[in-house]
Amino acid sequence: MSTLTLDRDEIVRLAALATGDEKHEASSYSTLDALLVLYGRVLRVDPADPGWEQRDRFILSKGHGPAAYYAVLSWRGFFPEHWLSTFTRQGSRLGSHPDRLLVPGVEASTGSLGHGLPVAVGVALALRAKGAKGADQRVVVLTGDAELNEGSNWEAIMLAPQLQLGNLTLLVIDNGSSTIDLVPIHERLAVFGWQAEQVDGRDHAALEAALSARRDSPAAVVATVRTTP
């Protein structure tokens, strides 16, 4: 686990390189703070050895807006900064959906909504099947609140507590984009057996505390992002 200084302005700068956005637009990305906290404080990963067997796994299920994700991976040194300005161009490794075969540090290719959580359940099971060494490895999957509309998520939401997957964490970035009103999301997840809590999605200390907690059943952190900082 790393304890890096969380340099938000640096991530905003890097994300803006990818999209060509003005900095204030990059600043509002709903996933930016959670990704920064995950990669700066929570996940055990080794940018020099992305396939390190003992690493924690992170799956960006909401793969359709990956600028902040690429920015954080670059910040951690998974690939050089100059890749960011090639975003979606011909010959680039950085597409509008992340491809695990092209981008170091990306665990799963995603984009179609609702795929990531069932895959994360499988990864958590596989780590458990590998034995004791995998027992304390984490699997964190990020979805959006609107993405939770997809039925495949609710299949996995029913399943994971039955399997007692204490190494699995579902991080929901709730930016209020779901047409179906699911709030309070954490209470709905708790009914299915998840250890769920809600935090301010811009509060780094709260995110770090919630995402670092160890559980004996699947954990869910609902990070609410309502305002543009």
């Binding site: 010959g91 665990e107 069932p118 990864v123």
Partner: protein, 268 residues
């Protein structure tokens, strides 16, 4: 004699026993027959319940960690219900929908054509699939549901351009002595129109999805004619590249130059 399905399950169970990298993910179907694998190592065998999408997703998770997962269920629950979990971003939609009898598949090449085709079909009681994409032709045509249009008449071969492929096909065949037909209704296909306008012994279809998607449709339409069929479309390969649509068309061989090259090669 043991039934084939039972044998396949028993074979997987044996492999599971011998190879610690094999995992089994089920969705209720055949759980009883797989009982030995659950007894052997429950960490590698899981029954997720009646959840086919999650069955495929969980298997993908095992695969990411280096296992060889085996999933098993009844055909439609995996081949169709969980098809999107089995693939990502491949242009297989028309091929999948062609398997449903009496479905209408429409591929307009311009906004005004989409308007006409929706109005022509919305209340006819059939399942209708209207496929639109970013690429459009320069000028809309007066398309009619169920009809091929004749764009150009020639004698050496027949080229069928599907929806948004029309402009580039006309560019590709400039100066060539070929008939160019324009198709926006793929099913029901205008077999009569095709047979009436057929020129030469070669039929080349230029399609905006996997090459060969319309092969069955055209084989049926041309069953009484001794012609050679050629398909120009998206190559059946995994292509990992990005860029503008125009750049990708060049990579796929679906710009005018690429289409011309393939037509010339087809008709010699």
């Amino acid at each position: 004699m043991i039934a084939m399905r039972a044998q396949a399950i028993d074979t997987v169970a044996e492999l599971f026993e011998d190879d610690p990298r094999v995992a089994v993910v089920l969705a209720e179907i055949s759980v009883d027959r797989f009982a030995p694998v659950f007894a052997r190592d429950p960490a590698r065998a899981v029954n997720v319940g009646i959840m086919e999408q999650t069955m495929v997703g969980v298997a993908a998770g095992y695969a990411l960690e280096g296992f060889h997962p085996v999933i098993h269920t009844i055909t439609p629950f995996v081949a169709e219900r969980a098809l999107e979990q089995l693939k990502l971003d491949f242009p297989g939609d028309v091929q999948a929908l062609l398997t449903i009898p009496a479905t209408e598949i429409l591929v307009p090449g311009a906004a005004a054509e989409a308007d006409r085709l929706v109005r022509a079909t919305y209340a006819n009681g059939h399942l209708t699939y209207l496929r639109t994409q970013l690429a459009v032709n320069r000028e809309p045509r007066d398309v009619e549901f169920g009809r091929l249009l004749v764009e150009r008449r020639g004698t050496q071969a027949t080229v069928i351009a599907v929806g948004p492929m029309l402009d580039r096909t006309l560019d590709a065949t400039a100066g060539m002595d070929v008939t160019v037909l324009y198709a926006t209704t793929l099913t029901p296909f205008d077999a009569e129109g095709l047979n009436r306008e057929l020129a030469g012994d070669d039929v080349i279809v230029v399609e905006p999805f996997y090459a060969g998607t319309l092969a069955g449709t055209l084989t049926e339409a041309l069953r009484d004619r001794p012609v050679r069929l050629h398909a120009v479309g998206v190559p059946r390969a995994v292509i990992r590249d990005y860029g503008t649509p125009a750049q990708l068309d060049v990579v796929l061989g679906l710009d005018a130059a690429g289409i011309r090259r393939q037509i010339v090669s087809a008709i010699g």
